[in-house]
């Protein structure tokens, strides 16, 4: 027996890098981003992670450079603390305990001993911007309870707050109004746009705000894709605004360059737009950034921009709009149809990544290895479009083959199904498309299974489908005197009384194939494709099937939808041992 080792849990990947705006260091050498309860310090040149600042006990919600010392970084978290870090050495300097859930953090050079945070006190939907006085003390952990209220009823997202013109005023947006608080006058002006009643202005909602660093100018982004530039807002009557319109969908974030000459905007189109001199004519684009732009930030030195994307990626962009580095985290798609797989070759985690891609993520290095484009079609990011989805994937023959299934279903009767088989190319160290099968089945494919036994020199794949059939695909030599070619063809089609095939599995030595048809399990001989025997337990539809391995290879395990685990002894066949386990299935 193997000695039981104590289980050691290592956390890896999975945290959102795009949760908040990334922050550049003063010399633009480093970029900071939140990552769950860590703050990660990456080099802008090499993309490598230099330090991980750990210490918060909950999600980090905001990071800002210390305006008084450019080698220090403030961070705030849901655990109610503001921490000050030395990012060059990666050590914690001080902890200020506020005691309230902090949603965002802002700093101002003019307010030396205080920071601004967003909190919600009473109702869950009402957020306040408050200033926290950070007391001076030599101890490591300091209570900071001195809060002074600045603005009420604001949005929780830090994108909806901006400090302008060296801290003279703060602008906040929510729903249909923009409020500006002037620190000197201690007054609040409020500007409202026509509300949702009017159909034309139905999507006038504010989404984000940015302030010009030098002038009295506020840029706001709107849900209908417009950008408004507000001026003269110190006067409630004489204020003016101009419109810039290029985005056709919501403006996700805005940022002014350091000098204020250009305005950057981004949205669902995944195009970074640079508006020069705040005019509609004068604009530059950086298209095809891959996913929705969530945040835009600008380095204090003014030479770099960075965009955070919804696919958990940060792109560092040079001033002349050339992408220079990509920091990619584990992509979390809305649906992980493929489940979690391990690539036998690289030992990387494989799952759905960007739309239409498979991502290979190395858990060892906490880094994405590469993306494999499966669907190979132009991705149109539009609301309400039915996309082609990558639904199944399986590795076979020690990582030499990869089978993928993609589908698109517009109406009940119109199913588009495609199966692709990829061969690993040693020369290019990547997968190359070998065979494309249109409509391999008439209905959804429920399972893919390769035969991984060593004695099978001919790769074999089995697909089971809701149309009641399972198909065996084998690799055939298609070479003639003109070219060498191998391709996959269907070798056998099997069915069992028109029941839906729900799963399939090869035994370890590849001699038997088990296919479950709803409540019935059938065992097939893989040499002759003859039906050997059937097991029927009437315990519910079979959801998972698995042969035992090594010494337990005579057993077949099946799990049903209603949480029963069945075990059959293949040697005695008729004799069935049955365990009843209540298993709580989590969606996989």
């Amino acid at each position: 027996m193997v000695e039981e080792e104590s289980v050691r849990v290592v956390r890896c990947g999975g945290s959102e890098l795009n949760f908040r705006r990334a922050v550049f260091s003063a010399d633009s050498k480093y970029i900071f981003c939140v990552s769950g309860d860590f703050v990660k310090v990456h080099s802008t040149a090499t993309e490598e992670c230099v330090h991980i600042l750990q210490g918060h006990r909950n999600l980090v919600t905001g990071i800002q450079l210390n305006p008084n010392n450019h080698l220090q970084l403030y961070s705030c978290s849901f655990d109610g603390t503001v921490k000050l870090w030395d990012y060059v050495d990666g050590i914690l300097i001080k902890t200020f305990v506020v005691g309230l859930k902090l949603h965002a953090l802002f700093t101002l050079p003019s307010a030396e001993d205080s920071v601004f945070v967003i909190i919600n006190k009473e109702k869950p939907d009402v957020f306040q911007l408050v200033s926290v006085k950070l007391p001076k003390s030599s101890s490591q952990e300091i209570e900071a309870k001195e809060l002074s209220f600045v603005l009420d009823y604001i949005n929780q997202s830090p994108k909806c707050i901006a400090f302008g013109n060296e801290g003279e005023y703060v602008a906040a947006v929510r729903d249909f109004y923009l409020s500006v608080y002037f620190f000197k006058k201690k007054t609040t002006s409020r500007f409202t746009l026509s509300s949702s009643r009017n159909k034309k202005h139905a999507k006038n909602n504010f989404t984000c705000v940015a302030c010009h660093p030098k002038e009295d100018c506020i840029a706001t982004g709107h849900k209908d894709g417009k950008i408004r530039l507000w001026r003269n807002f110190d006067d409630d009557k004489k204020y003016t605004y101009t419109c810039l319109h290029w985005h056709h969908d919501m403006v996700m974030d805005l940022a002014f360059s350091v000098t204020g000459t250009s305005l950057l905007s981004g949205g669902r189109e995944s195009v970074l737009v640079e508006w020069r001199d705040a005019t509609e004519k004068n604009k530059e684009f950086l298209p095809r950034l891959g996913a929705t732009i969530e945040h835009i930030s600008v380095s204090p030195a003014g030479d770099l921009f960075c965009t955070s994307h919804s696919d958990n990626k940060i792109i560092v962009i040079h001033r002349n709009l050339e992408a220079s580095a990509v920091i990619q985290g584990l992509v979390k798609d809305s649906n992980i149809f493929t489940g979690l797989m391990v690539d036998p070759r690289t030992k990387a985690l494989v799952l759905n990544g960007k739309p239409g891609h498979l991502q290979f993520y190395s858990l060892q290095h906490d880094k994405q290895l590469y993306n494999l484009d499966i669907i190979q079609q132009e991705y149109i990011n539009d609301y309400g479009l039915i996309q082609i989805e990558l639904t199944k994937a399986a590795f076979g023959c020690y990582g030499n083959w990869l089978a993928t299934v993609e589908q698109r279903q517009e109406k009940e009767t119109e199913l588009e199904l495609q199966m692709k088989l990829w061969m690993y190319n040693k020369k290019t160290q990547g997968f190359v498309l070998n065979t494309k099968v249109n409509m391999p089945h008439e209905d959804h494919i429920t399972a893919l299974c390769f035969c991984n036994a060593e004695k099978f020199e001919n790769p074999t794949l089995v697909t089971s489908s809701k149309d009641g059939h399972f198909k065996v695909w084998i690799l055939t030599d298609d070479s003639d005197i003109y070219k060498k070619a191998v391709g996959w063809t269907c070798d056998f089609v099997g069915s069992y009384h028109k029941y839906q095939a729900t799963n399939c599995c090869f035994s370890e030595d590849g001699s038997l194939l088990a296919v479950s048809f709803e409540e019935i399990v059938t065992i097939w001989d893989s040499e002759t494709w003859e039906l050997k025997c059937t097991f029927c337990q009437r315990a519910g539809k079979i959801r998972h099937l698995c042969f035992g391995r090594l010494t337990c290879s005579k057993y077949l395990l099946g799990a049903t939808e209603n949480g029963i685990l069945c075990c059959w002894n293949l040697l005695s066949c008729a004799c069935k041992i049955l365990f009843y386990y209540k298993v709580i299935w989590q969606s996989i």
Partner: protein, 518 residues
Amino acid sequence: MAGYKPVAIQTYPVLGEKITQDTLYWNNYKTPVQIKEFGAVSKVDFSPQPPYNYAVTASSRIHIYGRYSQEPIKTFSRFKDTAYCATFRQDGRLLVAGSEDGGVQLFDITGRAPLRHFEGHTKAVHTVDFTADKYHVVSGADDYTVKLWDIPNSKEILTFKEHSDYVRCGCASKLNPDLFVTGSYDHTLKMFDARTNKSVISVEHGQPVESVLLFPSGGLLVSAGGRYVKIWDVLKGGQLLVSLKNHHKTVTCLYLSSSGQRLLSGSLDRKVKIYSTTSYKVVHSFDYAASILSLALAHEDETIVVGMTNGILSVKHRKSEAKKDSLPRRRRPAYRTFIKGKNYMRQRDDILINRPSKKHLELYDRDLKNFRVSKALDRVLEPSCTIKTPEITVSIIKELNRRGVLANALAGRDEKEISRVLNFLIRNLSQPRFAPVLINAAEIIIDIYLPVIGQSPVVDKKFLLLQGLVEKEIDYQRELLETLGMMDMLFATMTRKESTSVWQHASDGFLENKKVES
């Protein structure tokens, strides 16, 4: 980051003959010229020297044709009976022929009367050939003997009496002056060596041998007899290498293409088959009007001449290479642009970076890239595209549907444009591979243009045509279902076999079609 991904055009397997280099090469001949001879053409032989004239043996005459001439430029008609096997010497100046009366005659190409007359055979001589040293002639006759003659003395040197039936074909080695092979109706092939006065190799073909051929290297021997073509390895002492059975009647003649890469065989089944000499697979075949008796290829495969039993000689010339027109060229960069950096020597540590190849986008892809959806659809609805490559049109319609802009692209068309779309639908709607996409498009068109129906007689007519087509297709599917029902009944009465599951699958295919149509 990543560039624009072009639309994936669905490809379908091309039905019918596969297009390969061989089909392209062997189809690149002009329509055949037919020349009527006096009787069955038993032999065609090309002169190995320019201008590559060829001798045609038919009935009691031998005609010499020039390369492009339709009339014989010379005729040898001094035969009392049928002539056989007129063959040129390697220098193209002498011609030897056998005849039905047992004589072998040697002609000078320029003269008319025979130079030599070899008497000795008692029956018809069907095969004669020059040996590699040019001074001897080998002949095989129906009196079962093979004789070797000396040209200067016009004397018989050797006689081999090893065959036990008619000797009908033979061939001398091109390298060794002493070696030659004969095939006989006693089913054997024998290789003789003039130095030993007996056969050195004897192999059993299995059928009466009609034709033999030695490869230029002398290493391989090809024999044709019955329906078989067999390849023998001479260097292994006559081991059978491969046996080909691609004709369904007796194979009568063999020829090797000028490159030596392809072997041709003609047969009484009116076909010429071309084999690759590396894999011995059939790569191409020709059809002729009558049974083929003889076959020859000119130098560099410029001409294929086939003689048939009905006395027709078919001559096919290779199409001349299409000369490239000197197009008005764009002005090119100056000479010094090209020589710039040419003499730069690559250092050891230098990393060579190739210029990235520029990705070429199709016109419709350029439109789609810029979201000009109507224009992209217009482009693929051009008659040149719809007729030649309807799959591109269908793929674009599918792509527009995926992008959710198909209705936008189809809307707002005038009479001419909408009838173009309808024409395409009428032509392709009933094709099963396009049906799912096009039915969807047809539904959208009907929805869009329903309010304006009746305004244009042209469009109305097209709609009626479309309706008729759909009705016809539904009737057709119903008939298919009926047939299927009948077949199911028949199968049900038969004994149950394990292959039933396969049948059910096929029937589902029909049902699916039905579903789509309705």
